[in-house]
């Protein structure tokens, strides 16, 4: 009954080196989250289906993994759907639970469910996997981690300022220089739509504008025309296509374009406040950039919109994003709770660090020293020293079998263990340990205490 083992498409096994590198990123992000005052929560991997369904649009609903009910799940089926073999209709009668699709909706559910225990403003972070039945492709998986930090219960713009600092702190700690934090504001997009007389076409308009980078000015205008935006409106947009210069210069241009829109003007004020604060506080390695074409999940965001671009030397989409949303918890019955949050794209950050060779060497170092096993007496003698090393936090191990010396040395080599200890009759007599440095072949006879201070 031997089977050729495999894993489902779009999923991954992680070997020790990969886990170590992923944990390096997780720990860096987690550390920054905590210094910024965010606290961790965790939610279940699966939620009741009604918590998730209908929150991500039809496409999202389709991509949610549903869990089959246990036991005789067909006994309670909708008979009409069953007779018609209608998969979509049948689902709700044979599946009551579904795997988490993102961390945002479960967080909203958490806030509403635990609102009486939570002290607001609530700064939470959450680092957990999510699952999507997406077509797997390069860099897109069916199981992947999200790393989110959000604040709910305050509409202070200082949160936006701090999130920009937080992005900067994380990428600085990861030694990833040259990251660009793009910012926009939903109110500016609304203002522009208003000014060009296309308020009812806000989505069409922003979807087109969002493509400026990829398809260029002419194609964007073409798409806008095809969506029914007037020539006059498009001509009013002209300054947008040529917005250049510093954050401040762009703000000035936007002010004149949007002077007639109250909402647009409010959006500009918000951006100006954030930019002013960031200028005074300074960023370590990242740059803040105004990008009026940035739209990201517009339906959802009501104020600031963030997106983080990797350094230009790397071909990679966004490595983070976020924004302010004014009514996330409304879907679960708690109104008027403003929130703002950001997310880090672990898999892409991993690829960027790998490409730029930015993982510290120490990350993948596992065992510091392997004790060669020459037999039970030597093994026991060695384990006494190993015990002392471990108490001092040094990762140490004994080769389990008294195999040929060459085999044991090969094992140390293959596992990139930097030191081996050789213990024979002589060492046992003198209570010493022969430490061999694998890279140089150097040997040193040491006491346990010397061994500890050498390896610590």
């Amino acid at each position: 009954m031997a089977q050729k083992p495999s894993i489902p498409k779009g999923t991954r096994d992680f070997n020790p080196e990969q886990v170590a590198k992923r944990n390096y990123i997780f720990n860096t992000i987690r550390g920054a989250f905590e210094t910024f005052g965010f606290q961790p929560i965790e939610t279940p991997s699966f939620e009741n289906s009604e918590t998730l369904m209908g929150k991500y649009g039809d496409e999202g609903d389709r991509l949610i993994f549903k869990i089959l009910n246990s036991g005789d799940y067909l006994s309670k089926t909708d008979s009409e759907a069953y007779d018609a073999k209608d998969s979509q209709k049948l689902t709700s009668s044979i599946s009551e639970k579904a795997l988490r699709y993102d961390l945002t909706v479960p967080f909203a559910r958490y806030v509403v469910q635990h609102q009486n225990e939570i002290e607001f403003p609530f700064k939470r972070y959450q680092i957990q996997p999510v699952w999507r039945a997406d077509r797997p492709q390069k860099g897109r998986f069916r199981e992947f981690y999200q790393c989110d930090a959000d604040v709910v219960g305050s509409d202070s713009l200082w949160q936006e300022v701090e999130f920009i600092q937080l992005y900067d702190a994380v990428f600085t700690a990861l030694k990833l220089e040259g990251v660009t934090i793009k910012i926009n504001n939903r109110k500016i997009l609304s203002g522009i739509a208003e000014v060009i007389g296309a308020h009812d076409k806000l989505i069409d308009f922003t979807v087109a504008l969002d493509k400026l980078d990829k398809i260029g000015e002419e194609k964007v205008k073409e798409e806008m025309r095809s969506k029914g935006i007037s020539e006059e409106g498009i001509s009013k947009l002209q300054p947008l296509f040529t917005l250049t210069g510093s954050f401040e210069t762009q703000i000035e241009s936007l002010k004149s374009i949007l002077s007639s829109s109250e909402e647009g003007t409010k959006g500009i004020e918000e951006l100006a406040f954030i930019n002013q604060a960031i200028s005074e506080l300074g960023l370590n390695t990242a740059a803040l950039q105004l990008d009026v074409t940035l739209a990201r999940g517009l339906n959802y965001y009501t104020g600031a919109i963030f997106e983080v671009a990797a350094p230009k030397s790397v071909q990679m989409g966004s490595i983070g994003g976020g924004g302010r949303y004014d009514d996330l918890t409304g879907i679960f019955g708690l109104k008027n709770v403003s929130g703002v949050g950001i997310s880090f794209g672990l898999d892409r950050i991993y690829l960027v660090l790998e490409e730029l060779n930015l993982f510290p060497e120490t990350v993948t170092k596992n065992v510091e020293v392997l004790f060669i096993n020459f037999g039970d007496k030597e093994a026991l003698f060695s384990l006494k020293a190993i015990k002392a090393l471990r108490i001092n936090g040094i990762n140490a191990e004994l080769y389990p079998d008294s195999a040929k010396m060459k085999k044991q040395m090969n094992h140390a080599n293959k596992r990139l263990i930097p030191y081996v200890v050789i213990v024979g009759e002589e060492e046992m007599m003198s209570n010493t340990f022969m430490l061999k440095t694998m890279s140089t072949g150097d040997q040193q006879k040491l006491t346990v205490d010397e061994l500890i201070s050498k390896l610590k």
Copy 2:
């Protein structure tokens, strides 16, 4: 469309305090795993159904959560099963994936799938959630973490010795004194069955013996009789019921009981070797105890069997277990790979530490200092200091809104933040910060550098 939010039964939300406490346990276990030379791997949350099904018995198959295929999953159903509305038969045609039920079978799958990349002996650890459609009850959940360490590719008994040390190291680090590590050996159980002429009734015999603690000698004998074990056999068992004294004394008694069984004698030798090594190496806080009634998943283990009992002052089942298995990877086509491993029961360890009040206070401390917000000028001034604090690893935050002083102080109190900083005109003029200790009400005027050294 407001919904009353809830989560599926048997699952849990974890609030910041709970996450912090859980992470304290995880990190302690992880740290010990690494000092002992184990390396982390991770496997996907769901596996192909054929990887899991049939590996845990019929009951296990029933408890595995199945994931419904995406899209028009009814289009490829088995029509006979469909027409008969046979849930069990239909499952395989509408579900190809299932959630991980434990970490052992995915590990075996991993070893076989990646056998050419793995350097054996392979010491891996894995800390990930598993899911079981079990009836939820106190302390039993449908989603819970397992923390496993295993070595495959060596049949050296030094592994068993090291696993005992590892248990001791973890519980010592958790300051949980008085833990008992019980050990038995499958070969001893086989030997006893052989000696009493019930080799074909090994399972019945051990299932009965395993209950000695709970139901007592007479009831155990009754059960054995009912399973067809002879009176003569049961009388030969008599010394087992009264085994007492030190590990060594019990070993001596077993030697005489099992002298006619080659397998039993081998089991005794193994236990004696392990006990001798542990005596020489010493344990810090745990005690090693021979328990011939210990059987735990007998079908699976072939040598040592471990189980860890919480200190006697706490009413709690086992908080860990494990053993040696000689053919785990055989189910996936890789023969003759011996393995041995142990597991830690996170949820129960959590309950024990909670009951004995053993979580260090620092674990749940989150933010060290909250800066009171009196307005934008003060906020900006504060954020400059906060930036310096965070760079120095101090968790610090600004109250986001310039709310009433009392509200902000209350916020610090409710979140158990030990210090607040108050910045007004005077502090800004003199570039100082008023640090208030919440527990005493003491106030101190400090520079940024003094603030850092005070809080670090």
